[in-house]
Symmetry: C2
């Protein structure tokens, strides 16, 4: 038996049905906000990701040389590909250019709950304009619309953090991002540490703090004002959001689903500058990525009800002669967009009823010699057990309205 690769998943019809529902709600929410969907390749030049995130990222990548000797990597995230696409082909589009995507990403890391080697991200990029508040609002609306109940939004500002810290190596930012404050104490001087700790715990009061005042705090204040206009009133200030990467420039945010334990972050984003790095003109952008699989886990934890993908009608022939008529009947149903199926195994009625049950058929049609003569079908509701004989010509009307004639 050949196993699927470690850290990857297969999705059964039930799982795919749930995932497609959630994906569709997310897509609809983005369209409501005026975003258009784009697609990019699954692999990119390795350089795209090392330019953005540094050589350190390579150890987490699925990278390889293709048969032409090119250094290739499966994408670990989608912001860099989207910005590459933007710089190559979309720079002349009217601004703001509002784009969203849903795609698979890959990281070579130890699999655990909520962490897979192939995982799915749903995200947006708003290129041009002051999009920070809107993308935060959109992220929250998406999570609300898919039905997630317990999640927390935290908003910070990298400028405030950098004003306090001055120039620090990226590793320090990573330590802050992980909230390892004990470790941090050994890496920066005491004065900075105290200032940082004060800022981290200030929360709302920071807007009253004389020493913090400046452009960055005004920025943050405006974002909160806009969030309220967008109907978002539940948020926390968190100045310890560092997001590690240099191209984030201002307001940043994260969303957690606390029920998920150690892998609780389900969304992250903020304002960034990335197009220059890829050879484009400088343009302010804002975006986020939602960890689609973690949202699915969160919804599962909260026992979100999805319903089942039920078959409309299962058609059972009784006797050899009725078979052809059954194929005709199922064709009529399908032409009318009623999901339906017909016995292809030559089973007995009892076994066919069992099969109909196991695939969640809503109704069963039984068609034997008697029905064939009368050009009727016997139709049974699998939930109520109610059974009626219907002329074939009235079948669609009956299924749509419940009326026999």
């Amino acid at each position: 038996m050949i196993q699927r690769p470690r850290g990857t998943r297969d999705f059964s019809p039930d799982e795919m049905y749930r995932r497609r529902q959630v994906e569709s709600i997310m897509r609809q929410a983005c369209k409501t906000f005026g975003y258009g969907e784009i697609g990019t390749p699954t692999f990119e030049s390795l350089k795209l990701f090392t330019e953005k995130s540094g050589e350190g990222i390579v150890k987490q990548l699925y990278n390889f040389k293709d048969k032409g000797g090119r250094d290739i990597a499966l994408r670990p995230e989608l912001t860099a590909p989207v910005m590459r696409f933007y710089v190559n082909e979309l720079q002349s589009f009217p601004k703001p250019l509002k784009l969203f995507y849903f795609g698979n990403c890959f990281r070579y890391e130890e699999p655990q709950k909520g962490r897979f080697r192939e995982f799915y991200q749903f995200g947006v990029e708003c290129i041009g304009g002051k999009g920070e508040a809107e993308v935060i609002a959109l992220a929250v609306k998406i999570l609300e619309k898919v039905g997630l109940k317990n999640f927390e939004l935290r908003v910070g500002h990298l400028g405030i953090l950098r004003n306090i810290l001055g120039n620090v190596p990226p590793s320090v930012m990573t330590i802050i991002d992980k909230k390892n404050f004990d470790e941090l104490k050994e890496k920066i001087n005491e004065e900075k540490y105290k200032k940082l700790m004060k800022a981290v715990y200030l929360k709302e009061e920071i807007f009253e703090d004389e020493k913090s005042k400046g452009k960055e705090l005004d920025d943050l204040k405006k974002v909160f004002e806009k969030l309220k206009l967008f109907g978002i009133n539940k948020y926390n200030i968190d100045l310890s959001i560092a997001r590690g990467l240099d191209y984030y420039s201002g307001v940043v945010f994260e969303v957690d689903c606390p029920d998920l334990g150690s892998e609780s972050q389900i969304c992250g984003g903020g304002a960034y500058n990335l197009s220059e790095l890829f050879g484009g003109e400088k343009i302010n952008s804002a975006g986020f990525a939602i960890g689609f699989d973690r949202v699915m886990l969160g919804l599962e934890n909260e026992k979100r009800v999805f319903g089942k993908d039920k078959l409309g009608v299962y058609v059972i022939p009784v006797g050899e002669e009725a078979k052809n008529k059954c194929f005709e009947v199922v064709s009529i149903l399908r032409e009318n967009n009623i999901s339906s199926d017909v016995d292809m195994m030559g089973r007995s009625i009892a076994k066919n009823m069992k099969y109909a049950n196991s695939i969640n058929a809503k109704k069963v049609i039984i068609l034997g010699e008697d029905e064939l003569k009368e050009d009727r079908v016997t139709i049974r509701d699998m939930e109520t057990g109610k059974q009626e004989k219907i002329p074939v010509k009235n079948l669609i009307k009956y299924l749509e309205t419940g009326k026999i004639k």
Copy 2:
């Protein structure tokens, strides 16, 4: 500037809008036929594909060693992954098990029109039962429903071909599949060649041909009878369909879109046995894969009309004071699932109108000092140019019904 890898594509919002429409119609058609969607990983163990197709396939694959030293390949097709999933986890499901998928595949080959290194396949597998006729009918229905006009279905039978040829190496099957009959002449003896040529050109008359009679021809006959019951009357018999691979066992079929020139095949499939090869119990299956990108090319050639993904309303503030109200208005619209956007660039009215035009907004709302005082908005239809003043509280009703009060 970093380029995207050779043979891959980026999809703009307009292209994605068209692709998602076609995908959605295909998905709906499969559900109508009682198929459920599944998903599998983008990469698999290399062995999965060499077991199925032989070592020869490696030169066409994106294969590499992962950081754990495992031999991995990006999937070149989806039948092997689906059957691997079936053998590992789905064998106990009731039969027939009707599955469909939509996914990206990868082949390292020279890019040309209709041939990409990352391409998309939409396909089905019917595991258990006599599914051949149904999958052929479904393939045709899918192509009809997406609106493709000019395509041709050819149906053959590998058993008939093998009875004529006896044991021949796979390379001979490939030659037949490519219809290189001149080259074939040199590879097999004259008697076989004559028989084969006769069979290839026999078409419908083969059913009257005494020498061809047997189980295989009966099989084929039954499939045509069923196809008629499913409403499929347009098909050609083509006994030269060889499909190269050993696991195909009986009825096989292909669909061409002649307008596409040298890469005209848009669908291929048939009956097969594959689960044994992957360690499962023997079970008859049937399936097909549609080349999604080629179908898109075919639709483009035929100038299929898709419409545009238009924004419902674009909101323009006039003056500083109206800005906050504009954010509120756009939030109300979005809460009511009306796709809408608001100026984020601080542009003039004229520039905003130009932007609204460029993003295909159906309506524009103008909100200035006067409107603010009256708690109204001015709303303009971008197609007719008609302009009206509406109380904010009646806005949703107005957009839904066209009535002002």
